[in-house]
Amino acid sequence: MKNIIKYIILDLLRNKIIIGYTVFLFILSASIFNLGADSSKGILSLLNIVLIFLPLVSIIFSTIYLYNSSEFIELMLTQPLKRRTILLSEFAGVSAAMLLAVFIGVGIPVIIFDGSNAGWWLIIASLFLTIIFIALAFYASIATRDKSKGIGISILLWFYFALIYDGLVLFFLFSFSDYPLEKPMIALCALNPIDLARIAILLKLDISALMGYTGAVFQDFFGSSEGVVFVICALMLWAVLPCWRAFALFNKKDM
């Protein structure tokens, strides 16, 4: 398995999209930090880009990559290897290349220019979001045979988590505004990895004071060590669950 992963990574590191993505992220992050003297403002601007842009690139790139590798995967499946080994190698290879791109593009500028607690959270969140959306991409592309349909599902998944979900939550808040909703809100956040990442980082930025009572409840929960464990566990679960479904489907799939 190590062998296959090695060659997949070697292939991806020479991929023009991965190289372009890394360079773009790096220039973007570095220039945002250089725009103003206050690095926490830089983190805030970067946060919005990370939350929207990284999931989109991760999910679309992985979906297309997996469809384009289908003949290669088929060839590997005719070798004396378990199906699990092959999919795991693909997943590890794509994840490693994308994580490296994000770490160089976002991680290094944040460490250089900021290095605060919130900055570290931003790095962790962007790495997690990358993995989670690769896992979702694997699920989408294994569940559908048709390439255009698979890419469509991936875009819809991103659209749902990045935009539609927040709209639904707002709708829910207005409908039930007569009730105390702070606790259910925590649960609702956990159902969307992008929201979870956003709140975890915002609360590290000392602007929770502006978020009223809900902000105080959030600060109380997410600021505690149990809260941190909760966020990390929830994000891990978001990466593991789609993967687990993808592997189960892949084991029964007709190539």
């Binding site: 292939d11 060839l75 499946l77 005719t78 378990k82």
Partner: protein
């Protein structure tokens, strides 16, 4: 060596294979023939474990292949279309294949690598190769680990006449060594001298499995494409007489 037993495969509502029973033995070279969509590729893919049968079973050297993977050590497969990771070099692909199977301690068969002149393109990346050259690389991989069974899906489709001849010679040589070779092809004239038996599939059913000698006497024709043409005509006549 390979025993296909009551194999049925359905994709949703369409049936790709219906109750197929075949036995393949050593030192046979079998042509799988049939119109498009008759289930040839599905049969091959079922043997390789790429497609999971709806019903029935396949035995390789007496052992069921369902949920197994070790048996694939003894199968070399050349797919209809070959595509490899774009930025991977030919050298890296061959290296990876060898590394993946290095603990098997197999004798490597690099005849085709020499015959096709793959040494000259070792440093080229996969996306810079033409379709035919990729087919050559794919043929090299199929033969590389000297497996007992070779499965070639439309091997001659993208190859030039010269490479075609080289591949045919190689197939002939492997047949002499006692290997089982399964070939699907539409270009019947390419298969003339190598094939010893014909399996004919139509509308997802096995129509017949006969040796070339049997077919020659029953149809009175010498060339494989003539034989098949006369059989297809016959079945059409039967269909017309039955009012289909």
């Amino acid at each position: 060596m390979i025993h296909v037993k009551n194999l049925t495969k359905k994709y949703g509502k369409t049936t790709a294979l219906q109750n197929v029973n075949i036995r393949f033995k050593k030192s046979e070279c079998i042509a799988l023939i049939g119109p498009n969509g008759s289930g040839k590729t599905t049969l091959i893919k079922s043997i390789l474990g790429l497609v999971i049968p709806t019903e029935g079973d396949i035995f390789f050297n007496g052992k069921s292949v369902l949920k197994e993977w070790q048996y694939r050590k003894e199968i070399g497969y050349m797919p209809q279309i070959s595509r490899f990771p774009d930025n991977m070099k030919v050298k890296q692909l061959l290296e990876m294949m060898k590394n993946v199977r290095k603990n098997e301690d197999r004798k490597l068969d690099e005849d085709l690598i020499q015959a096709f002149g793959i040494e000259d393109i070792l440093n080229k990346t996969m996306h810079s190769l033409s379709g035919g050259t990729r087919q050559k690389v794919s043929a090299c991989i199929a033969f590389l680990f000297s497996p007992q069974v070779l499965i070639l899906d439309e091997p001659t489709a993208g190859l030039d006449p010269l490479s075609n001849e080289k591949l045919k010679q190689k197939i002939e040589k492997e047949k002499q060594k006692g290997k089982l070779i399964l070939i699907t092809s539409h270009v019947l004239s390419d298969l003339d001298d190598v094939v010893s038996q014909v399996v004919y599939l139509q509308e997802s059913k096995l129509v017949f499995h006969k040796t070339i000698a049997e077919l020659e006497t029953s149809t009175g024709e010498q060339k494989l494409n003539r034989i098949i043409a006369s059989i297809m005509k016959e079945s059409q006549l039967i269909n017309e007489n039955a009012g289909v």
